[in-house]
Structures are given as structure tokens and as C-alpha cells.
Symmetry: C2
Subunit: 388 residues, 2 copies
């Protein structure tokens, strides 16, 4: 099932079409065109259909792979001649103007990051170009089709295998002077990260970053972690891979501890798991991201722990949002945060409460769920256990 | 040694500065700012210095890591208030306008792909925004500093280890019914690619694509290859990794054959190696990329093989350019092609002649070299041998 783009019609206002000029790594381009190419190409959505303009090199593949009603080639519009006359930027823009004219498009809405060189050239050719300040496509993207949900589910399965690799590695260690050792060497954040990356590679996934953060590192939600892992301290493992084929992401966090947690850590883990379950229980269509976030805050505050809701300046406790949307981007709409709007069936969101204090370390537990007509389905099957 | 940005001064014309609004994965942004961040930030080059505008989250790291004279925070310009008043696009642009005004900048030159939302907002605030149709920064980037050359050299060392992994794997096979077998299973393009990716991961490199193409697949220079590898057929292995830390690329191709090459293939390999050496010999400052390309064409044509120079419509023979620049982008200036300009010391270019014919397969040999004051230094130490 293809995404329903007709919601764009209302956004267009008095514009004839929605125009994107970007490569396939751009999520809006990927979504509108259904096509992946390494160099920028044009996609024009109109209520009558989706039209692509690509290089000759990509033409054959675009005709079979893209979700388009028509595919045109740059050469049809004398691309080479016009670039050699007017230069690469103005020449290309003139070609795009003709491509639009052929489809009866005189005015276009474009994303805020649409390239200025193309926009200036189109305006010079008499095309009206207006910036979509409301980011309509990212709003439409927030509601996933069944096929998109399957892409996310598949990425989360790969993610679980990577998490199992990390957990096994940590579990396999012996403790020497408080430091975890594997094969006679200290086990480092970097080594666990590499094992995770290898597993994901074998699963067809790619990732630029992974968090494997121990002790004080784990107390900073943005610290990727480095150096030897230590016994009796929490190790936050947060993995957010991208499926190389579909480009959809997954996201999951677990916190592991090798050895004996002190009573504070044990309590932190339990209350964070309770916050996770409370937030999960709150998820259903019509409930706001704000209310889901509030459900997690309620649990922490009832346990006497600081949150940003009770103290906007706190640097310890629950110091981030409860979650975010996941799809072609690893962070996208909807927000599961103080300003989060009402959830809809098809939203895919993380639920990831956590507690942080440099004196104690960090604890975070993150699941990935899809909002359904009835409530929510958890796409995460990985167990939640602290001590390994 | 930092890149010499003063060449931008001449390009500025009557503009006060060169402005970039992009994340750290954008090569122009990375080059001007020396900074890597996952979300878009602003860099303004002026003859007096380089000025960054970043979010509070990136501020500390930007102050230590970036190549900037000043680093400012969005919050200094009441970012939140202005976004809630005017929306995310117009509010952010208003902040950028104030940031520029503080530096006495009333007019900016910007890359062709500068975001329209920011440009429209700046123009509304009275700032002149002009598109740099000549892509000045990519021209400056084509001449590398010693530090940049070391980054490329390090990536090429990693690349050689990956190539050795691929060669060993192919060499380790036995032949069953014409198909290469490893550990009792057919060895596929995909399996070799995975072994390459694993090695590169261990070397701190990332890559989105690798070519491991056998037989008819190898006859299409853009085919990544798939399925079982066969004996007595050429296997083109083209690897172009990016160092994850520096973001600089390497690039290398070798063609391997397990078994017995037929006389045509053997001749193709030898003449391609001769074309490679002839092109390498031609590289020196002042010589054009066009002349280097011609040196490769000369060898092929002397051997009676078709090139695009003798027959612009040929679909077999030497059907691409001799090379391209390599740096923060895997394809960048200078061109080593029919329209290539004069080479300069510090250019890093590939030399990659090849022959293609679906009836025969493909052969390509690619080295990576730096143009020096005296001629060229080959950054590639990997042997050139067909039969493994």
C-alpha cells in the first residue's frame, strides 16, 4: 500500500504542486518519490499524480522502482546544451521550469530546505515558489502504512540481534580489579560498539552512531561512551540502525549491569521500568504525546525523583522527553513530549524514560511501539533485565 | 595546517561574506567550519574570520573542535521566542539575520543548495543573498593541505586491508562446476562485500556501497554485482570508504580472476595496466585532466580498442573518464576527463582506466594519487595482479 499523499492537497493552497529537489537520502524526497538515487533529482506532486525528473543514468531504474506516474529525463529538455549556455545552476533550473510547464504547474510549494539555486532560477522563469513553513510532508510521514510499519519491525528485529550481541559480550566477561574483561583484555565501549555494528551489517543495516556508555558517561544522555566498562555500574546501550534497503529506522535502549547494583540503582531501574509501562499503557489514538510524557513524569515524581516538569532547571533525574517518532528519520514526528499533539493510528514512537546523575550513572529503557486503532502494539520483544 | 580560505575573498565580489546553512555531513559546511554536527548550523566566512552559530547542545564542542574565530549560540538571539512567534523557518532566519548584522554582514554569497527558507527570511530582513553559481568552495577544496592528504592516505591504508580481505577470500575458494566455493558454499558478491565492510568497520571506516561484480555484471561500471562468483571470469572490486572520524574518502579498484583467463581477458588486463601507468606518468602540475585522460585513451586506441574519444556512442571499450578528485566527497574536483582543467599540487585524483563488454566482462584498475610539485605520488601500495 502506498502512502496516502492526498493530505498534501489541502496544504497546497493556491499552488499547483509540491516540488522536491534532493537525493534519495533526503527523507521527504524518498517518501514522495519512493526512489533512492545518490544525486539530486526532482519530484513534483500534483493532485493528478507524481512526476519525476532524473538523469539518463537513473532513468531505467526510476521507471521500475519509483512510485511515480511519469518519469522524465533531463536530456528531454536539452539539459547539456542549457547547462553549457547558462551554467550548471541556472541551466538546470531552466530545465526544471520547462518540466513543470509541461505538467501545467505554474506555482509550487517547496520544503524549507529546498535549494536556493533552483528556486531563484524557477522564479526568474516566472514560476511562483513558496516555502512550506509547516513541513506538510513530515506531518504526513508521521502516519505509517502497514508496509512502512513492517519496514520498522524488520529493522527492530535486526536491532534485537545486535542488542543480544552486546548483552552476550557483557555477560561473557570476568571482573578484574572492577573492570570487565573479555578474552583477557578489558572490554571497552568501543569493542561492544564494533560487535553491534558487525551484527547490524550482517542484518543489512547501517548506523553512524551507537551509545554504549558506562557509569558517569551514561549520566549524559548524549555521551556515546568510551573506554573500559566497569563492574557494578550501569551500561546504557542505545542502538538506532537504518535498514540499508528500505531506509527505515529502529530504536531501542537497554541498561545492563555486570555484578551487583547498589540499592539506588536497583530502585532507579525499577521505577524507570514502571515509567515505561505507564507511558506504554497511556498510548492510544486521541491521547496526546504530552499526556504520554506526563504518565512517565507521574511515576518518577511519585517516587520523589526530579523531572523537568517539576524543575525545568534540574540537571539530574528525568531530563529529556519520553519519546519521538521513528521512520525514514530516526527522529521525526510525532513528539512524545510536553508539546506533543494527539496520537493517531499508524504513528510509530519510542517510549524511553530514563534517570541520570553523574554520582549514580544513567538508566534508560526504550521500546518502539506503533499506535493502533485499539491502543498500541509494542514492536520490541527484547527482555528488560538489569543484571546480566 | 588549516585550509587557505583566502581564495574565497576574490569570489565574494561585493558580498560581505560566504554563508553556509547545513549539517556536518555537507562537505562544504565541514570544510569551512571544520566542525561536524548532526543538525544544520550556520557558518559565515568573511575576510576577517570564520563565525559559527550553533544550538546550545553543540556550543561547548564547537568551541573546542571547530575551526572558527567566534562561536555563537542560537539562544543569544532569543531563538525560542522568535520561533514561537514567527514559526520555525521564519523565526530561525530572523535569528540568522541578527547574527550576520552583529558581524557587519549585509550581503552574502551562498552555495547553490543553500536552503530557500533561510534565504527568503534573510532577504525579507534586508540581507542580500546571492547564489555562488561557480561553486567556489568546491574549487578551493580540490587543493588539499598536507593534513588532508594524510587523512586520505589513512583511508587508503584501511582500504588496502579491505581489498586484501576480498582477495584472500577469493583466493581461498575451490571451484565446483565453474562456481567459486568457500567453506562448502558458493561464494557470492554479497559475501565478499560483507567481508570488506567488516574489515572497514574495524578500521574506523564506513561505506554505503561497494562494487564486487563478476562477469557480465562487471561489464556495467555502475553494477554493484550480485550472486555467486564464477571461475575464469573477471571480478571487479571497487571500494570507496569514508573515514568516520575525518570524513575523508579513499578509492581503489582491482580486478581479480580465479582460474584461467582467456587470451582476450589477459590482453585487456595488460593494456589497462599500461593505460594506468601512462596516465600516472602524465600527472604533473600544469598538465590538464584532459591530457591525463588522453594518455589513457592513447594506449587503448593504439591497441585497437574503442574509446569514447574515437566513438562517442560506443557501449563497449573504455566508456568512462580516467578519474576524478577525492576528498570530503568521493567524487569532487578536479575532473580527469575530456573537460578537465590544469592540475595543481595538492589535487588528489583517481586514475582508473577500464574496459567493458558484456561478452567479455569488465576490467578496471584504479589507483589514488596526489599531485606534487614534481609530478605525482601514488597513495596506493596494493599490487596489480589478475590471477589469484
Amino acid at each position: 500500500m502506498d502512502p496516502d499523499l492526498s493530505a498534501l492537497d489541502a496544504t497546497l493552497g493556491d499552488c499547483d504542486g509540491y516540488l522536491v529537489d534532493a537525493d534519495g537520502a533526503d527523507s521527504t524526497q524518498r517518501y514522495l518519490s519512493g526512489f533512492d538515487a545518490p544525486d539530486p533529482f526532482l519530484t513534483c506532486y500534483t493532485p493528478a499524480g507524481v512526476h519525476l525528473l532524473v538523469s539518463g543514468l537513473e532513468y531505467g531504474r526510476a521507471r521500475t522502482d519509483a512510485r511515480a506516474d511519469t518519469v522524465s529525463r533531463l536530456s528531454t529538455y536539452d539539459y547539456r546544451e542549457r547547462v553549457s549556455e547558462a551554467g550548471p545552476v541556472a541551466g538546470r533550473a531552466a530545465v526544471v521550469a520547462d518540466f513543470l510547464a509541461d505538467r501545467g504547474v505554474d506555482s509550487v510549494l517547496v520544503p524549507a530546505r529546498f535549494p536556493l539555486g533552483t528556486a531563484d532560477g524557477l522564479r526568474e522563469a516566472g514560476v511562483t515558489v513558496r516555502v512550506d513553513g509547516d513541513d506538510a510532508v513530515t506531518r504526513i510521514r508521521a502516519v505509517k502504512t502497514d508496509a512502512e510499519i513492517e519496514h520498522v519491525r524488520r529493522a527492530q528485529r535486526a536491532n534485537e540481534r545486535a542488542m543480544a550481541t552486546a548483552e552476550s559480550l557483557i555477560e561473557s566477561t570476568t571482573v578484574v580489579s572492577g573492570v570487565l574483561h573479555h578474552d583477557g583484555e578489558p572490554l571497552t565501549s568501543e569493542a561492544v560498539r564494533r560487535a553491534i555494528e558487525r551484527t547490524l551489517l550482517d542484518e543489512g543495516c547501517a548506523l553512524d552512531e551507537t551509545i554504549v556508555a558506562c557509569g558517569a558517561d551514561a549520566a549524559d544522555p548524549h555521551d556515546r561512551g568510551s573506554g573500559p566498562l566497569r563492574a557494578d555500574e550501569p551500561i546504557v546501550v542505545d542502538i538506532f540502525p537504518r535498514d540499508k534497503e528500505t531506509r527505515y529506522h529502529a530504536d531501542m535502549t537497554r541498561t545492563f549491569l555486570r555484578g551487583e547494583p547498589d540499592p539506588t540503582l536497583r530502585e532507579w531501574f525499577e521505577v524507570t521500568d514502571e515509567a515505561r509501562r505507564a507511558a506504554l499503557d497511556a498510548v492510544e489514538p486521541g491521547v496526546t504525546g504530552e499526556a504520554v510524557h506526563a504518565a512517565a513524569c507521574d511515576v518518577y515524581e511519585a517516587a520523589g525523583l526530579p523531572t523537568l516538569r517539576t524543575d525545568p532547571t534540574t540537571e539530574t533525574g528525568f531530563i529529556h522527553s519520553t519519546g519521538h517518532g521513528v521512520g525514514l528519520d530516526v527522529h521525526e514526528l510525532p513528539r512524545v513530549a510536553p508539546d506533543g499533539d494527539a496520537l493517531e493510528p499508524g504513528n510509530v514512537i519510542t517510549i524511553e524514560p530514563g534517570l541520570y546523575d553523574p554520582e549514580v550513572g544513567g538508566v534508560r529503557i526504550e521500546d518502539l511501539v506503533v499506535v493502533t486503532a485499539e491502543g498500541a502494539e509494542n514492536l520490541t520483544e527484547y527482555p528488560v533485565e538489569l543484571v546480566v
